[in-house]
């Protein structure tokens, strides 16, 4: 007789990782209800927009892109966290990433759809999105964007699902006390996984190959998203630096989001032994590098503009530095660079609370950064004739705020539900992981001539 259950690698933390799946608490239900309520408010706001048109928002000539497009860029940026940690660090051979790959990939999986939804919400006629396929032109960066983001979404789902497959089988075999619908779900999604060593070998090979592909996609996707702006000739957008600018910002904000997610999971599900402090220290080092890299990009960009002093560019420049958008710009500088860098360098080592504080500041700052990149340029377009008297200002309305809140609530809701149905730490990938601390290096001895033959 063929064995009924499949083989699962031994993992001493299996019980701790599967523990959240064994019951849904009252607090969970409250959280889901609150999040659904926020989404309901967003749905009501969207219904107002659907009935009365985009006039219920602050969008008007010449500011055609506002909070919705900011959300689009922000969510796509968040999505890069998972791919960076699971794919890029996989290629780099960073074994420490293993416990957090699934949590990071889940951020990717659940933020991408809301990024795409932001585009549809921004359209007064969402049905016209089909025109990109029916009448797509190669010259259009929107077509490149559509292709890249769709491919990224699809590939992320597959990459995530394949790495989850052995653990779905584990849930099928271990969680026999789960409700019948849940057991059937595991049975369906396990696709008959048997845990044969050859299956694991093939899975590792495919994941390695997909990691290369996903790394290329990460670079492509956010560069193409930036080219939706960069390929125009608007002051402040039309720069060769916009691709790397957006890409680094995406990985930066995504990694900070991973820190927040991990800290919450560690606290709520009591995973102190699985999600160790060392993981946060490793992420802290990455975030220091990203903060400094981002600072470099911002300084390079603005110094070049300032030194060139082209009139069109300087209009936008002064809008950000001293004009109408100065408070948001300088708040962005404070929350993306100054405070996080101080916290990461001086306060964050082995202190998860400070790491979370800095990461929240980074994400708030990065949202403001996207806003500051997008809106001021539109208020001072190159074609001054489009800037009529009294126009060139943008004030978001409650509709945009409610829909933005709903998008974030939706992402958090999907993430929270996911953590109660599937293991948020990969059981099979961490099975062979060395849990002990790295032993200290032997102290070097200052003995000259040691080792030379006598």
């Amino acid at each position: 007789m063929r064995p009924a259950a499949s083989y699962h690698p031994q993992n001493k933390h299996e019980d701790a990782i599967l523990s959240p799946l064994r019951r849904i608490t009252f607090a969970d239900r409250w959280l889901w209800a609150v999040l659904l309520g926020v989404m309901g408010l967003g749905a009501y706001a969207y219904s107002r927009q659907w009935i009365f048109g985009l006039g219920v928002t602050g969008l008007n000539r010449p500011v055609y892109w506002g909070v919705y497009i900011t959300n689009f860029v922000f969510f796509i940026g968040l999505a890069h966290s998972g791919t960076f940690i699971s794919a890029i660090l996989r290629l780099a051979g960073a074994e420490w990433r293993k416990p957090l790959t699934r949590a990071a990939e889940a951020i990717t999986l659940f933020s991408l759809p809301f990024g795409v939804a932001s585009i549809l919400i921004d359209m007064g006629r969402p049905d016209r999105a089909l025109n990109v396929i029916l009448f797509g032109r190669f010259q259009s960066p929107l077509l490149w964007d559509f292709t890249a983001v769709s491919l990224y979404l699809f590939s992320s789902v597959v990459f995530f699902y394949l790495s989850l497959l052995p653990d779905i089988a584990l849930c099928r075999d271990r969680l026999t006390e789960a409700p019948l619908w849940q057991q059937r779900m595991y049975d369906l999604f396990a696709l008959g996984w048997r845990g044969h060593p050859e299956q694991f070998r093939r899975l590792e090979r495919v994941l390695d190959g997909m990691a290369i592909f996903m790394t290329m996609l990460v670079v492509t996707v956010h560069t193409v998203v930036s080219w939706v702006f960069g390929m125009t000739i608007q002051p402040g957008w039309h720069t060769a630096l916009i691709g790397p600018f957006f890409l680094l910002g995406a990985i930066f904000s995504g990694t900070a989001a991973v820190v927040i997610a991990l800290a919450i999971l560690r606290r709520v599900y009591h995973m102190e032994e699985v999600l160790t402090v060392n993981l946060f220290n490793s992420l802290r080092k990455l975030l220091i590098v990203f903060t400094l890299g981002w600072l470099y990009m911002i300084v390079a960009e603005h110094l070049t503009i300032f030194y060139g002093s082209l009139p069109d560019e300087m209009e936008v420049f002064w809008q950000k530095f001293t004009g109408e958008y100065a408070p948001i710009f300088w708040l962005m500088v404070l929350t993306v660079f100054v405070l996080p860098l101080i916290i990461f360098v001086f306060l964050g080592k082995s202190r998860i609370g400070w790491m979370v504080t800095a990461s929240v500041l980074v994400n708030v700052g990065m949202w403001l950064e996207r806003y500051v990149v997008i809106v001021p340029t539109e208020t001072r377009p190159r074609l001054v004739s489009t800037l009529m008297e009294g126009i060139g200002n943008y004030q978001p309305t409650w509709v945009e705020g409610a829909i933005t809140a709903a998008l974030f609530a939706g992402m958090v809701l999907l993430y929270a539900v996911f953590t109660r149905l599937f293991p948020v730490v990969p059981v099979w990938e961490t099975a062979e992981a060395v849990e002990a601390e790295v032993p200290p290096a032997r102290p070097r001895r200052r003995v000259f001539g040691a080792g030379r033959p006598r």
Binding site: M1, R2, V132, I133, L134, F135, G136, R137, F138, Q139, S140, L143, F146, T147, S150, L151, F154, S155, V158, L162, L165, L191, G192, W193, R194, H196, P197, E198, Q199, F200, R201, R202, L203, V206
Partner: protein, 54 residues
Amino acid sequence: MPIGEWIAAFFTSPGPGGVVVIVVIGLAAGIHVWLTRWILRGGEQAEEEKYRFK
């Protein structure tokens, strides 16, 4: 043969872009499904041999 014209028309006309989008995503879907099935087939032959006479 006006190949140059055809290529120019392909890249500048409305429509072909959408075809490329569908082809790219369709191809990706096909490859991913095939890879998933290949992974799941791993070790099938060895197991068939092992359990053939049981």
